[in-house]
């Protein structure tokens, strides 16, 4: 570019300086505006020199309010990240560590922590802390709405729920629970007398991951619950239907067919559970380890022999008050179940020494035995047990106490 001496050079600097000056002016004005906005002062010039004070105040407040609203919105959307706690501990510890600490607490402490501050409230009510809930100590206060609340809050996080003795809980609440908590694995509803088949049917529809269920003393439960469970919960490994008088062999057979992974089965006091039911268990659930048939007095040697034959992993057996049993059962157990560690045969009056001697020979791992009211046995049994079962810790026998 040819430059004419003098003229253009003079022009250019002029333009530049004008431009620079204008730029500086603009910058200054912007800065002034910004500072005024920040401090809440009106950025509009007072034309007449007079303005009503209220109007001045309003216009001063507006940008402030808008900013505050925006901040609120942001806060509500990203609650955890924006709430800054006031206390030292919460500021210094990362929230993951706080969550881990809270995960070790029980229900009461967790609820108390939730009352400490807003920050702690959000952390304490986080689903990961509510995977295991035990409400046994609050029986009187647990009513339907509480369970419904819990289900909605915990949702898929809830895995273990113990409602033993919460007599006010009814089928409706359990249905809500089934609807929200699909991942529930362990459910203890013992002594909840109002629970009926409807609740269990709903559970079986929605909660396929159920592994343990306790329905002890839920007297309204009948065979249809067991059928529902066999359909919907194939992973069931522990079930307790003690004292549910309506349970018959049909229900147990259906359950055994559907749930082959059963390891613990308890039906104390179910008088209608007979040989057919136990044989079905033996055939379809060979992995059974704990079997409790206390007071199921129609059981005979046939079913116990079948159990002994098919279920090699049997560890605990209770057949107290099953008066029809004879030494044949004991011999069958002796032959097949060497891992037996607990045997309760209180009240089985037909057992004699020969059965126990056979048992003592093979079942080396016996730890606990209940032989009360087995009136035909003599010291020979005790001697053999002492020799054959070195791990025997607890032995219950008729005590000859004289007072």
């Amino acid at each position: 570019m040819l430059r004419v001496k003098g003229q253009q050079r003079q022009q250019q600097p002029l333009r530049n300086s004008n431009r620079k000056r204008a730029k500086r002016r603009r910058r200054k004005h912007q800065l002034r505006q910004r500072t005024r906005q920040r401090h809440g002062v009106s950025t509009m010039k007072a034309r007449n020199g007079e303005r009503s004070p209220s109007r001045q105040k309003n216009s001063a407040k507006e940008p402030n309010d808008k900013m505050m609203n925006q901040i609120q919105l942001v806060r509500n959307r990203f609650e955890k990240s924006c709430i800054i706690p006031d206390d030292e501990i919460s500021r210094k510890l990362p929230k993951e560590i706080l969550l881990r600490i809270l995960s070790y607490l029980d229900v009461t402490s967790l609820c108390r922590c939730g009352q400490v501050s807003r920050y702690w409230n959000i952390l304490a009510l986080d689903g990961s802390n509510w995977q295991k809930i035990d409400l046994f100590d609050f029986q009187r206060d647990i009513e339907g709405p509480v369970i419904e609340n819990i289900s909605q809050r915990c949702g898929g996080f809830l895995k273990y729920l113990r409602l033993r003795g919460c007599q006010s809980v009814g089928s409706h609440s359990i249905r809500t629970l089934a609807n929200y908590c699909h991942n529930i694995e362990h459910l203890d509803l013992s002594e909840c007398k109002k629970i009926s088949d409807v609740a269990i049917q709903q559970l079986s529809k929605n909660c396929a991951k159920l592994t343990a269920i306790n329905l002890e003393s839920c007297s309204q439960i009948s065979d249809s619950s067991l059928k529902a469970l066999s359909d919907g919960c194939p992973n069931l490994s522990e079930i307790n239907v003690s004292w549910c008088n309506l349970i018959t062999e049909n229900g147990v057979e259906a359950l055994a067919r559907g749930c082959n992974k059963i390891k613990k089965f308890s039906s104390k006091g179910c008088k209608q559970v007979n040989d057919r039911a136990v044989i079905a268990l033996a055939l379809y659930c060979p992995g059974i380890e704990v079997l409790n048939l206390h007071s199921c007095d129609s059981i005979t040697d046939a079913s116990i022999s079948k159990i002994a034959e098919k279920c090699c992993n049997l560890k605990q057996l209770c057949v107290s008050k099953c008066t029809e049993l004879t030494d044949q059962s004991l011999t069958a157990l002796a032959m097949n179940n060497q891992y037996l560690n607990t045997l309760e045969v209180a009240g089985c009056a037909q057992f004699t020494d020969s059965g126990f001697i056979a048992l003592a020979k093979n079942c080396k791992y016996l730890e606990r035995m209940d032989l009360e009211e087995c009136s035909l046995i003599t010291d020979a049994t005790l001697q053999n047990l002492a020799l054959g079962c070195p791990s025997l810790e607890k032995l219950v026998r008729n005590e000859t106490s004289v007072l």
Binding site: L110, L125, F138, R140, Q167, W243, S295
Partner: protein, 161 residues
């Protein structure tokens, strides 16, 4: 069930469990809490445990009512098994739970004249046996304040499973 004030009921319905627990902890010696179990619940914590009936520690052998499975007595409280009741054998216990007493009457038993009060299960109201209030013969004095429960009404649980 505790009678809650209207405001309290509403809160129970709307809010999460912690309100409920916080209320109960604050109340402490709530009237309902104290009358809930005839015998004090065996809980070590400061707050009152709100169960419908008393529970005995499951690690010991326990004797329960055969009709309703309420815990009656622990094996440690058993004094003697060689008693006779109207329906067969009976056990003598030092202390029992979930049991209520009737009025004391004077009766002539096998062992002499005694003042006994009939006891019954609090949960299902079945008569279980009796309590010795007063013994008129000095050899029977050891029975005073102890409870007889008939075997026909009891079921034994070892607590091994």
């Amino acid at each position: 069930m505790p009678k809650a004030a209207p405001g309290q009921e509403r809160r129970m319905r709307i809010t999460f469990l912690f309100d409920l627990l916080f209320q109960e902890a604050a109340n402490g010696g709530h009237a309902n809490g104290q009358s809930s179990s005839a015998s004090s619940s065996s809980s070590g914590s400061g707050t009152m445990v709100k169960t419908f009936q008393a529970y005995l520690p499951p690690t010991n052998r326990t004797y329960s009512c055969v009709h309703c499975r309420a815990h009656l007595a622990s094996h440690d409280e058993l004094i003697s098994k060689s008693f006779q009741g109207s329906q067969g054998r009976a056990y003598l216990f030092n202390s029992v739970v979930n049991v209520a007493c009737g009025q004391a009457e004077e009766r002539v038993l096998l062992t002499g004249l005694h003042a006994v009060a009939d006891i019954y299960c609090e949960c299902c109201r079945t008569p279980l046996g009796w309590k010795y209030e007063h013994a008129f013969e000095s050899s029977q004095k050891y029975k005073e304040g102890k409870y007889i429960i008939e075997l026909a009404h009891m079921i034994k649980e070892n607590g091994w499973d």
